[in-house]
Symmetry: C2
Subunit: 260 residues, 2 copies
């Protein structure tokens, strides 16, 4: 008989934005092979029901404990799939798993640990309106739970100076009501008032709502915990359509001399 401990694994999977048609076949196969599913309750609930796997659900803030739990299960031979929404490597569970490995039992390094990519929130939001990420861009997590707010402000100012398209993850929460408004203030000092801002909420599920507004009129209260915000660069354009929301895209080309 083989040692069952050698068969354990931790696979960190991204479920995409919500629609099951945006889950990759690779991720679906991992979910089908799991003996244990670990994750925030909302995401575990998105995994199709089947007999067998044990569901370990936890609060959204307990990421490092959840990661340690997954590793402990795998070390005992369990086939563990840790689920995230979007892509697990972008402001989600994968980093927490590697933090736990880095600081935890050295034996965990020998485990079979894999990350499977998913459709991230910024990609699904961008696709809904056109191609706002068609040129250089950045992604900033607006939460100051794990970093000083000063660093966020510094990054916003430098990203604006670099003329990146800027995607803002975790723009607001009950405990962080003012940060997005402050981010808009900073960006308004550099970007023109007509710069397109996209609020993309609950992309691909029944509550989906997408709005494109000029930066000069962007109101932070439009965002909630399920919203991703994309702020255009100086080159981002809208294409008006009759009876439909506008397309938004960033051209591939930047001329040698800045436009007046």
């Amino acid at each position: 008989m083989s040692d069952t401990r050698e068969q354990g694994f931790v696979i960190v999977v991204g479920l995409g934005p919500g629609d099951k048609n945006l889950i990759t076949p690779e991720a679906s196969a991992a979910l089908a092979a799991a003996t244990d599913l670990v994750g925030y309750a909302t995401y575990v609930a998105r995994v199709p029901e089947r007999p067998g796997p044990t569901r370990h659900i936890s609060d959204n803030r307990e990421e490092i404990d959840r990661a340690r739990h997954a590793l402990t299960l795998a070390a005992s031979g369990r086939r563990v799939v840790v689920v995230s929404s979007g892509d697990p490597g972008v402001f989600a569970m994968a980093a927490a798993v590697f933090e736990a490995i880095d600081e935890g039992d050295p034996a965990w390094r020998a485990l079979d640990i894999r990350v499977l990519p998913g459709i991230s929130a910024m990609l699904s939001a961008a696709a809904r309106v056109g191609a706002p990420l068609g040129h250089d861009f950045c992604a900033i997590n607006l939460s100051d739970n794990l970093k000083p707010w000063g660093l966020v402000e510094k990054r916003l100012a430098l990203a604006a100076e670099a003329d990146f398209v800027i995607t803002l993850y975790n723009p607001v929460s009950k405990a962080r009501p003012w940060q997005l408004g402050r981010a808009f203030e900073i960006l308004r000092t550099v970007r023109a008032p007509e710069t397109p801002v996209i609020f993309a909420t609950a992309v691909s599920d029944a509550r989906e709502r997408i709005d494109t507004v000029p930066l000069g009129k962007a109101v932070a209260e439009r965002a909630d915990m399920r919203t991703l915000v994309i702020v255009g660069s100086s080159r981002t354009r809208t294409i008006a359509r009759e009876g439909k929301p506008p397309f938004v895209y960033t051209p591939r080309k930047t001329p040698a001399e800045p436009s007046p």
Copy 2:
């Protein structure tokens, strides 16, 4: 009889990095519904063969002509799928399609135009090594075909100052042999020599090769046209493993005071 012109569409689809298990079910359904496939020969060749659709293949540089061709076909009632690798909205075909719409026949704005997200090169590359994009990051297209090189250098310097993890798309080509080396030079003036640099080539296909090296020893010649380069932030860490390549991740947390 209905007007067939109303049935035409352009759907811009991302095929992911190469492995068919990384194509979303949504994208597969679009491919199955197409009467016409439009794209660079290498990507059209990745679409599973079936009887029916006409394949319109073109050279990689003719993006805007390809976009116009797709829109012309859709306006005549064809169901056109434009294929990209990775995500179509990230340095790929979607922006070209909207440029063509913006500058082209106003009737094109009334067409059914959709973008379906895909697993982008940066997400699949990052997943292979761990979670290097676990904290704020940016994506810079290193090609100066469509923008002045001075702008690329400015963005590299500002991204380094912002301490973003930096992903470099299109790091080299035959016509652009020196740009990646220059980018490393710029980043070495700000980032420590031990900063992890990931070279991810041909991710998920048979020729896949992934190397993680310190910035101080990163050599541009390691990259080719199928390589994505990720340069860590000051916080990006590696986890050594016996007999296996190291994990690379960027912790979620940044302390209030910079490390000495």
